[in-house]
Symmetry: C2
Subunit: 319 residues, 2 copies
């Protein structure tokens, strides 16, 4: 048996056919066309799914279920997409029902951060864990929580907004309206802002050499690169950033005590440059200091995590 996963992105929609082990065997994409009515988009999603099946020579009888991962908030119990970032016509859409007009399969819904977490849990960095938390450091901080092998999304589908956990009362402004959210201090966006600020204050920093003085060229990697070249400003930015990151990770461990916390997103490619100092801060800060302790690992699933996680949404529930 196979599973179908659809990853609803702002630019493109990707569908993949995934086997029992979580390996993707076939994949295709179409442009999102996000401004269109939802009925048109869903029709195209169904067409894409059927094409992916066709290209691998399987039919709906070979598929256990179809999962859809979306940015924003879904209520899987009701089969409703409540809100999807970037899709103006995707508000309170009966996505399951709409999809089943075109394709006769069980349909499961999840948000994209939860799908990434499920993929890591089933065949990635947390594959042996019963409980795991996956965070993605990007524009914001995405959070996905897997409890007992299943995505936890709360009673209304809105759980695991880990980026919107305040770690600094009256701290930096967040897009959500609060101040001091974790993502306002520890997302890639926040790190870039912190780097720009420090580069302005320290004209002699290597950062300004790397970027040729053009602050717009600063990325989430710049301060790490500067630190690697021995730059004191770069080192300070990185250390402070890892401190902010650790506050949220320690909170998550004190709250969930998962076997594994998985860290994804571009910054996680720094690998041990990021994880080694982070683990030291976490070990010092966590409430429970006995063994066994939560492990912190880099994400392993890469760009296909969204499709694979979406496909696997129904693995424990599909009949």
């Amino acid at each position: 048996m196979y599973y179908l996963g659809i990853d609803l992105g702002g630019t493109k929609i990707a569908a993949g056919l995934v086997d029992e082990k979580g390996q993707m065997v076939s994949k295709d994409t179409i442009p999102a066309g996000k401004e269109r009515q939802y009925s048109e988009i869903v029709k195209d999603m169904a067409g894409l799914a059927l094409r992916v099946m066709d290209s691998y020579g399987v039919g709906t009888d070979d598929i256990r279920c179809l999962g859809i991962g979306s940015p924003g908030t879904v209520n899987n119990e009701k089969g409703v997409l409540i809100y999807a970032n970037n899709f103006p016509h995707f508000n309170d859409v009966p996505l399951r029902q709409e999809m089943q007009k075109h394709i006769d399969l069980q349909v499961e819904l999840g948000n994209d951060a939860n799908c990434a977490a499920l993929a890591e849990s089933i065949c990635g960095a947390a594959r042996d864990a019963e409980h795991s938390v996956t965070i993605t450091l990007g524009t914001g901080i995405g959070g996905g929580v897997v409890i007992g092998g299943r995505v936890y999304s709360g009673f209304n589908g809105s759980a695991s907004e880990l980026g919107h956990m305040v770690i600094m009362h009256e701290g930096d402004e967040c897009t959500c309206g609060r101040r001091g959210c974790w993502e306002a201090h520890a997302s890639a966006t926040a790190l870039i802002r912190q780097t720009v600020h420090a580069a302005k204050k320290n004209p002699s920093s290597v950062i300004n050499t790397i970027t040729g003085g053009d602050l717009r060229k600063i990325t989430a990697k710049t301060s790490f690169d500067a630190a690697r070249e021995g730059d004191e400003t770069g080192r300070k930015i990185v250390n402070k950033y890892i401190e902010y990151l650790s506050e949220g990770i320690i909170n998550i461990i004190n709250i969930f005590a998962p076997e594994v916390v998985v860290i994804g997103g571009g910054i996680s490619r720094e690998g041990e440059n990021l994880l080694s100092p982070l683990r030291k801060l976490v070990q010092k800060g966590v409430y429970f200091k006995s063994e066994p302790a939560t492990q912190i690992k880099a994400a392993q699933m890469g760009n296909d995590a969204g499709i694979i996680g979406a496909a696997m949404l129904g693995r424990n529930t599909a009949g």
Copy 2:
């Protein structure tokens, strides 16, 4: 069938016989004698449990299981009490095995905050909820999480330390070694400290009239009393305290999206004086602003929550 619950407290140990509906039908207590070896304490606990059964005329055949609630950290899977505040000889104690030397029953372990949460979930303020979070505002902030009707305690028993979630990076010192934990700003202890500080700075405040100028008489109720008398200092303390409290509650809702957050501990007796302004801040701050929203309620179970919750620990697992 009945359930037996034992609440291990620093001063006394209480045992109760609880029916299927969570009603306590018989109860007794003994002094804790917490300095003694664990084997002696456990023997007394078993004797107390047998006495409670005897007094109601039931035997072990009438009991589905025995639950023990303890301060600190337990690993129920292994049957081990890892650490219990105030009990110097309760470190890594095989509590299930030790108890079963004296009494032939299934034994389940839980920490006291989790037991309180389970009691509220089964027959208290969260009785219709599938997912609920109970916090207890006292010396610290105790947290208990019930997911799908069962206590969630993580892979090593150390989860739901909600009081040790940092809400203020570099904030006030916490007993756990970090700075800015929620309980360092929003426990009863924190409120008393905030009140003492404000009373010193504002000699003309009603607080100093209420306490006759003796700062040692300040309790968690004093600032609320002063505010009720129209005192500006009292009002400011209460407002700021509720703001700190809301930071943690909003985080919890963004993380767990539970049907209900239950607030217990002495301060919760302020009722709507506390809950009404708190709900306004929470409504404004939560990430998910659609319906259905998480409800915030005062705890209903009172002093027996610990015994009843302990008794109910095995309700979903007992054979």
